[in-house]
Symmetry: C2
Subunit: 404 residues, 2 copies
């Protein structure tokens, strides 16, 4: 969530872009930010490429939302066809929400067989929090030290990476990634001392905003401690899910079986669709007593987009591609710094935030898009569409070599 590479009003920008920025600043709320000192104006996307108004091509090494590639024709066709046919809510009987839920259930562990749909990852985490409260009767939540889980009021309170202007709730405890299980046990003890009943451990299973960590050997021990204290484990797969790390779900790499799984960003390749997968017994009390209706959630167009994304991941072998190109990319990155991550979610540890900022800006000038992450903003965040090829990796490494 760090915006180290934000727009600088003094930068050398074309008159057209400057005019568009002025219009934007006049009409959008002041909370909006632009990436890069010289913002990137994009008008078209295809595969791993984004294109500017003059046709200039940017290599996209950053956007995990367009997971099967920008404007993938099969996803576009599915959206167009379904939008022309039917788009309505789940209180009528419709086919696609059932088809899509069954497809998701088929790639999830069998115990996580109940799906609910929302429109954004924030909504998915917010819903998971509500389910966790109804299940446990508790309120306490443990998150990692620089976690990001979303922007609703309840989830911003659980997202330390949003900074001091988004204060954490009194019911929230933060833990480091290193020494994870011991810190979780200490957080549980502290909750008990404060009279707070634990509801959940909520973790992004690739620890993206903490700087990208693939190997957390005591993760399972931490989950066991939370369950022993009456809480549940929510795997936030908004970043790591959908084959990004070379397996279907990030939690699988840690050998874990969550109580709830939240998902979002890549699900519709940019179409707003997200959701929660639950163990039946975990969602039972919430479903019976509380109810939940999301007007747009699970509509047939969103489900058609989601189904098309799953089809493309399967038919184009993108999970294997994430493993293979990811391994190649990490190997080629090793000379540049400490490499972490799995599949096509890679963190490259540099010396300082200043260096990371300089590299991100210099790559932008070479029309290569990445960003930085971590509590100090000193790691590069490398997270291209899953169709990223070995040749794309070579091109990225070449650009990186030129700027480091």
């Amino acid at each position: 969530m760090s915006m180290i590479n934000a727009y600088s009003p003094g930068a050398d920008i074309s008159p057209e872009d400057r005019a568009l920025i002025a219009r934007r600043e006049a009409v959008l709320g002041p909370a909006y930010r632009l990436f890069y000192e010289r913002p990137v104006h994009v008008v078209r996307g295809e595969g791993v490429w984004l294109y500017g108004p003059g046709g200039e091509a940017y290599l996209d090494v950053y956007n995990n939302v367009a997971c099967v590639g920008h404007s993938h024709p099969r996803v576009v066709e599915a959206i167009a066809r379904q939008a022309a046919t039917l788009n309505t809510h789940t209180r009528y009987l419709t086919d696609l929400v059932v088809d899509y839920a069954e497809r998701l259930a088929a790639i999830l562990p069998p115990e996580l067989g109940r799906l609910m749909f929302t429109c954004t990852g924030s909504e998915a985490n917010d819903l998971a929090l509500r389910i966790a409260r109804a299940r446990t009767g508790g309120t306490g939540v443990i998150v990692t030290a620089n976690a990001y889980h979303g922007v609703t009021a309840a989830i911003a309170e659980l997202s330390p990476s949003l900074g001091p202007a988004n204060p954490l709730g009194d019911h929230v405890r933060v833990v480091p990634v290193v020494g994870f299980a011991a810190a979780v046990r200490a957080a549980l003890a502290d909750m008990q001392a404060s009279g707070i009943r634990p509801a959940a451990l909520l973790v992004d299973t690739i620890f993206s905003s903490d700087g990208v960590f693939d190997d957390v050997p005591d993760f399972g021990e931490a989950v066991a401690a939370v369950r022993a204290a009456g809480g549940i484990f929510i795997a936030d797969e908004v970043q790591a899910g959908f084959s990004r790390t070379g397996v279907a779900w990030g939690f699988q790499r840690h050998g874990l079986s969550p109580d709830l799984v939240t998902m979002g960003k890549p699900m519709g390749n940019g179409h707003p669709v997200a959701g929660v997968a639950a163990r039946p017994e975990v969602v039972e009390a919430f479903g019976r007593e509380v109810r939940y209706f999301n007007t747009f959630g699970g509509n047939p167009v969103s489900c058609a987009a989601g189904l098309a994304v799953l089809d493309v991941i399967r038919d184009e072998g993108l999970e294997a591609n994430a493993r293979e190109v990811g391994a190649y990319l990490r190997e080629r990155l090793a000379p540049f710094g400490g490499v972490r991550g799995a599949g096509l979610f890679v963190g490259l540890q540099l010396e300082s935030a200043d260096e990371a900022t300089r590299v991100v800006q210099a790559l932008r000038e070479r029309r290569v898009l990445i960003s930085a992450t971590g509590p100090r903003g000193d790691a590069l965040k490398i997270r291209p569409p899953l169709v990223f090829s070995r040749a794309n990796a070579d091109q990225f490494i070449e650009a990186l070599s030129a700027v480091v």
Copy 2:
């Protein structure tokens, strides 16, 4: 939000629909509900019509989301074209988010010139709450007695219509629609006595879940009292906005100028797009200190859908249609009960919830879709797509006559 007309497992349902319901219940979370004792299975939509698997046509007198008619070809074409071109987030410079924000600003009062985009009305109200807190330093919120504002954890706490399993926050006060200003003043006094600083009065300007009220003469007085106490006024236009009541915005009918306006359901004719319009000074502190980024919010496809909806409302004269057909419909409804509402948002007061339930079910058997509303569920909620014609109104009245 009442689900008085929910699916009854014993009902006479086709084997195919029964099989689909069984699959649905096996894979969706138990929080999902179906309308009607005999659920309506829909596979296609066009204009004011929804169609079942056998081609049977249902007259849609209920769905405000498909505001320009189901699967309107101009909206479908805009979505398909833009999805094939570019779909990315607002941290790059893109044209459509600026174009769309300017179009919205042009139909809003000039003081509400700053737009922010989310994907759902729940997210819009959640964001408005966060802005209100940052602006006022307060936490207290006043809502109507049977209000519904959304399903995030923070907004469910402000939505008494969700029932006792969704307890209201300690910082929330509820007021009746009748005797509004006096009740708001009493709520403010009670907050002061409890040491709660007011943040906002949050009101759906057609009072939909309270039973549909078009005439609340002391609304302005209530808003003035909240502002005098340091709070702001948030107009929830998720239901009343986008010409539904025969004017652009529901608050205009009450002669009010809100501090924040939230919008959602009809914006994209079913595509998940929603937003907040703000006075610059109201959103300034939030924008500077807190920031906000919604991954899918304001993406080019959502904005293309939103622009197409505004084009169709203008080109097909749907605001005037809402006024004219709405007036005709209300006139023809008068013999059946107490008529409330404006434009094509109409409440028909019946004797009891039992009667309302019976009418809703009987109309469904005649393939006419409506629902019920109000704290006792004893008012019919009549809210068709804005392309509803006088002939459609006649057809609806004919069906209603046959079942009452």
